[in-house]
Symmetry: none
């Protein structure tokens, strides 16, 4: 007699989020339409509204969930990395690259659909994004303080590194020439080698 309450509804909601992520990633939020989304989920367009409040809210929810998951996973990776600044920076970068390969659709959306958010949602999501950027800046500062890194400008360097490390989600394909571990190692080296203090002179 007992109905598995919400079971079907929860499954539909998850299917909507999944399909929406795919379609926004492929076509962009503005170009994605709710009729096609509903069709991919296998329901009528009007049924979408049993699970979302609006197209805009769907995007915002997707982005918020992504940012919160990314922050939590990052903090977990840092917690496991121990106390050494360079280890922690490596952990951040390695985790970032792996995460961005595994969740490249969510990542891409969170990076390139900010402009599609209305004012209220924009503020909320950008705050989460800034928190993530601050994680990296803090690590760079730790490294400098420990004398292990040379960083001319923390902010610019953080932005440049994030751009480099995030870029992978625009071209990575699961069955490509190189596997995730290799790509992660390559990016980590590229990012860190340019920053490490060395005993020898940096002459031009």
């Amino acid at each position: 007699m007992a109905r598995i309450t919400g079971s079907n509804g929860a499954r539909t909601a998850a299917a909507i989020r999944h399909a929406a992520t795919r379609q926004i990633y492929r076509h962009g939020f503005a170009a994605m339409n709710l009729r096609t989304l509903a069709a991919e989920v296998g329901i009528q367009p009007s049924s979408l509204y049993n699970h979302i409040r609006s197209k805009q809210a769907l995007l915002a929810d997707l982005m918020q969930a992504h940012m919160e998951a990314l922050l939590a996973a990052t903090d977990a990776a840092l917690a496991a990395a121990g106390p050494m600044p360079l280890d922690r920076l490596r952990a951040f970068i390695g985790h970032h690259v792996l995460y961005h390969m595994e969740r490249r659709e969510e990542v891409y959306i969170a990076n390139f659909e900010l402009r599609a958010l209305d004012a209220a949602n924009y503020g909320r999501i950008v705050a989460l994004r800034s928190a993530y950027e601050r994680r990296l800046m803090a690590l760079l500062e730790e490294g400098v303080a420990a004398g292990e890194l040379v960083v001319d400008d923390i902010t610019v360097t953080a932005f440049a590194l994030l751009a480099m490390l995030t870029g992978i989600c625009t071209w990575y394909r699961p069955n490509g020439r190189l596997d995730k571990a290799r790509l992660s190692a390559l990016h980590t080296d590229l990012a860190i080698e340019g920053l490490r203090r060395r005993p020898c002179p940096r002459s031009a």
Copy 2:
């Protein structure tokens, strides 16, 4: 009664391209609409069609013009840089960063609106884009061949560098904290330091 035919029309066409660049940059191609574009230019939507064939063709023309200008300017910068691999790489990077600050709207469009192109245009623009990427790969190979660079994977490194150096066009603002020259130098160092062969050991 005779009007200097073409003069006014050419001015209108230029105004359309300029306004379109701004609006696509701000809202994305799919979210930008021809009503608003026409309003910004100061004409009626239907008058747009005296100057463009379609919204799609407008985008493709903008992207093609940008890519061709970028390639020409890059080749000029390389021609002026002399024969030394490291100088040439510095010239490429310096030029890339400056260009991406000065023309950040066109650059952003060319990078993030590829998916809005129809099949025929897509092929044409991607070919130009690949030509640009190959410029950088060639420089990396030259540097390795000359024994001045250590590059584990040319393709991945080129993509990673381009992502890093292009990222600036998403946040650079003309009146920001740092000027163009400083930002260019910072990025050049970040990009090159990680690649330079050094006499001393790399390991920690």
Copy 3:
């Protein structure tokens, strides 16, 4: 575990009728929606259908209940008024005005939502409405037959009087400047003075 079946349900049904009356009065039948109605009652929209057959049937039931109550109350007022034509007309008018102030929402609906009824319901409700109009026409005829009234056209006069006396339900507010008794008296005088046969000449 046993619930006093029907008790709660009857309360819900009454709450629905009450809320529906308010919302139709305020926004009109077409503009009123079952979502908002359900929300005001404190149930889900689908639960409404345990108490109503359809939105249309809800309206028809409301209007029928109103018309039957109005007819019954009118007949009771006339029965109490005695045999004199002028007394009976005063009784009708006084009752009408008081009733239209006290039940102005139901009255308004019954008067202005006839066009929202489907064919079958329309016929039924209009028949009740006509019965009410005939009550007034009969009183006018009695008054003329008794030589107490001068009425040029019974039908037009009845319609004009009803329009005047019903108008009050569009602007009456319980805490307004004048109380019900005063408003009732004012309207009764306005309605009757123009009809009374007088010993003196009518012309100016």
Copy 4:
């Protein structure tokens, strides 16, 4: 060569206003839909928007045009009526009834669709409506001041008279039993007889 500028457009706009008046009168604003309206005009629904800003603006424009025309026509009728209070009141009433028979659709809309207006439009239209009501109140006051009328409460009497005289537009049909002149005379008498001061006593 010279195009009769706007000719076709103006004709379409007029056809839209005409068809909208009919459909709002018949079904009410909320129940009327723009697809049917467009079909009646003989254009596509989207073409409506070359002539209206929105459904709401269409209603507001219709009501405003009606109220302004009514006020202007009323003032013209009063100007032609001469200085005598009773003549002026007769002129107002006679004009009101004739106008409400001839333009009963516009009148009905203006009276019963106020609640469909948004806040800004509501204020504007109600102000015009009040101006019209004040015309009648002023005439009643003139009549009382001249000793020709007995009016217990100016406001209530004005509302009651307007309700009576406006009611005709809910049932008048052009080919009915009585013609306009007769209906106008009947209503004028009904309205005025109850207010006239008489030499003989008003005993019950």
